[in-house]
Symmetry: C2
Subunit: 453 residues, 2 copies
């Protein structure tokens, strides 16, 4: 097998399956048992197609892999798959700043994409975490979100075209630089978020928009979940086009307080942060509106950040929250449920109740404006009883989420870790359609088998 | 058959197939031969499901129908289908202005939806033509666009959930009020734009945003296509978030000049209109920027419209352009191709060349910012030679569009009228995937057969 793959991509670009760099993702899920069968690093889309073609003909399962920053095990070879890495497809293919568009390889890092756009006065708005390491192809495969999805939508909203290798090895284009296209079914949108189970994204045409001239963050602390969420609703009620609307709860603030870049109350109950962007004049106009909306009902330490350094420091702290919380015990079991906005308070309170019932500590934070909650049960990974209780808590949380009309994942995807929950999450006829699509694209079930379906 | 359907929806709600109200669409395509087998008007989503179930069991093909304003024949029963009308499903199910969302029946008119949102300080941004008559379900089935799609995207960008009847008669929910959901494949996006060939949309959860406080239009005339498109590119170069960026060419302006609500040069070559929206202060800031970008290189009659009455008058005139052009001979054969922005000049010039080659007059106008061109060959429908030449011209145009990397339809869909062009528009493996999806959803090919596929 190794020889067959080396004949396609060259001797140096087929690595042993034990290579630790490709063995796990940000969920710390590791390849099990025989691990990956091999890691292959194609140097062109045509080579990706040849690899898929060869594997498909030889009944060898594949796991496509971007930056490996996923949180659901979607890019981990758990059943002896060949890992197909996009690391070598990392170029900007073409960039037309005056046409607000860019054509990139799937392996380009999110950070580089955003930097290239910024240097030309444009912005690629989606901002999932781990931008240094994550790749645009992985963001597309998971339809990655982020705080600014509230105003700008998730990754898929910015994709006008995909280059994809579909089984049994066809390199095709779904869309392209065209900004509108209603000729065929929207196969591009079907591949977006499909987590490598329908094909492998090798390139993408992306829309960009002019970078806002300025931004500001207004934040405030509240004594409780309820008063904090009232503030969220008041911000929505201003009718201002808020770019991001985030929250963190009391247990999260207690753990991450040490690194918070500013003053925090002694007993912080709930933090709400609203980011505004636009022209300098527009941001200046909106700030007092939003500040007034936040500064009610027990609000304290109301702060406006207008210097880029302050805003960046806040977001750096926010990016580090997950890691700090994780380190508090020595791990966490987490979910990123999404509920209708009017169910947000109920969902946050249910996380507390569920954690108490299972004798666990829990933290939640998330994208309040989108109803998207990162719910985390803190565990000592060496304590098997605790880990078992956290799994029960997670199952309870997903059941509650269904009851609230929510989704079991708003950003991270199903991957491997949540695979057993999808069937009960979807109505039977929808699950049947889901399976029928998987079968139509991948009749041999060789594309990231066991993930998502 | 009539009795079977009457048993489901009631005696009064099964009409004869000859009912003229359901026999054609805005393309003037009429049901042929035996016409529709019947028109059934279900009164609830459950009744739609029962109708689909009954028809599927009895091998009776169906054509779902919204407002009948389509331009591709997608909602016309051309092969003796039962027309399934959404006219009676015309209610707002729930509206949460403070949560920026609304839940509606598929048969709600676009105009009513926009009015209800506006009365509460919100806006549903998609603005396809014929808003009085078109229905949100039809807009979803075609992923309808419009001028403001440049900033806000087409209809599909605003749908978070669909209620759909899938063959053989399952009433299911794809998404809901959740703003983010990456659990399953994005089946919702697959149904959006599928033109009734995968199922029937009966309801939708839509996102809304706060209505911009103000808007303004800056327009200018240019001596040629080239100078006009230079102006379009200068507007993009301002980096302002323009809401709509429209153009009309010389033949269109000549025909529609009489009803233009303002001064026009004696020999208008090309019109560019840019709409700006936002807070009053922001619009006031942007207007001079955009005006300066437009007022170069032979620009004349540069005009800024800031009063709502003036802006509405301009858009009313723009909405009437298609009808005025159509009436100039006594018909037109048209396409709504979409090309990459850098191919816009080539595409517009090709329409002229193709029309000259076939001894036809042609008009084009469209959504310049999106590269979306309404290309119209003017015909006397009683002149069979002329009609035949226009069909050849259309085929030439689609071939040229492919050569430019464009799509054969950016807004109107494939429907019945463009069905023969889809297979050559898509790469073979993509067309195969398209067919596989149709088969997976509708193995008996009873959902709007002959359309789109």
């Amino acid at each position: 097998m190794i020889d067959g793959l080396r004949a396609i991509v060259g001797y140096d670009y087929v690595l042993g399956g034990a290579n630790s760099r490709f063995a796990s993702d940000a969920s710390r899920l590791r390849a099990r048992g025989e691990r990956a069968r091999a890691v292959v690093c194609p140097g062109s889309p045509a080579e990706v197609a040849s690899v898929v073609s060869w594997c498909y003909a030889h009944d060898i399962p594949m796991t496509p892999r971007g930056g490996g920053t996923g949180l659901a095990g979607g890019a981990v070879a758990v059943n002896g798959e060949v890992v197909v890495s996009m690391d070598r497809l990392n170029q900007v293919r073409s960039f037309d700043p005056l046409l607000w568009r860019i054509h990139v390889d799937a392996g380009l890092s999110t950070r580089t994409l955003r930097r290239v756009a910024r240097e030309n006065g444009l912005v690629f708005p989606p901002d999932p975490g781990a931008a240094d390491q994550s790749q645009i192809g992985g963001n597309i495969a998971t339809n990655a979100g982020g705080p600014h999805a509230f105003k700008y939508g998730s990754t898929g909203s910015w994709v006008t075209g995909l280059e994809v290798v579909l089984p049994p090895g066809d390199l095709v284009n779904l869309g392209g630089p065209n900004r509108k296209d209603v000729a065929s079914y929207d196969l591009k949108k079907l591949v977006i978020g499909s987590e490598g189970t329908l094909g492998i994204v090798t390139g993408a045409w992306l829309r960009l928009i002019p970078a806002p001239e300025s931004s500001a963050v207004v934040l405030a602390f509240y004594p409780s979940v309820e008063t904090g969420l009232h503030a969220v609703h008041r911000v929505l009620g201003t009718g201002e086009p808020v770019a991001a609307l985030e929250y963190l709860d009391e247990p999260t603030l207690r753990i991450t307080k040490g690194s918070f870049p500013g003053p925090m109350p002694d007993s912080p109950g709930f933090l709400v942060a609203a980011e505004l962007d636009g022209s300098s004049a527009e941001v200046a106009r909106m700030v007092p509106e939003v500040r007034q909306a936040l500064d009610e009902e027990g609000a304290s330490h109301v702060t406006t950040l207008q210097a880029q350094s302050g805003i960046s420091a806040l977001w750096r702290w926010r990016d580090g929250v997950s890691g700090t919380v994780s380190a508090h015990h020595n791990g966490k079991v987490s979910a990123d449920i999404c509920v209708p906005l009017d169910m947000l308070a109920a969902a946050i309170n249910q996380v507390s109740e569920i954690s108490a019932r299972h004798h666990l500590a829990a933290c939640t934070w998330g994208h309040a404006g989108d109803g998207n909650i990162h719910a985390n049960f803190l565990v000592d990974l060496d304590d098997t009883s605790m880990v078992a209780r956290s799994e029960l808590a997670l199952a309870d949380l997903f059941a509650v989420t269904r009851g609230l009309g929510g989704s079991i994942t708003g950003e991270h995807g199903i991957g491997w870790l949540k695979r057993k929950y999808l069937v009960s999450h979807l109505e039977p006829a929808v699950y049947a359609a889901h399976l029928a699509i998987k079968y139509a694209f991948d009749p041999k079930n060789l594309m990231n088998p066991g993930k998502k379906v």
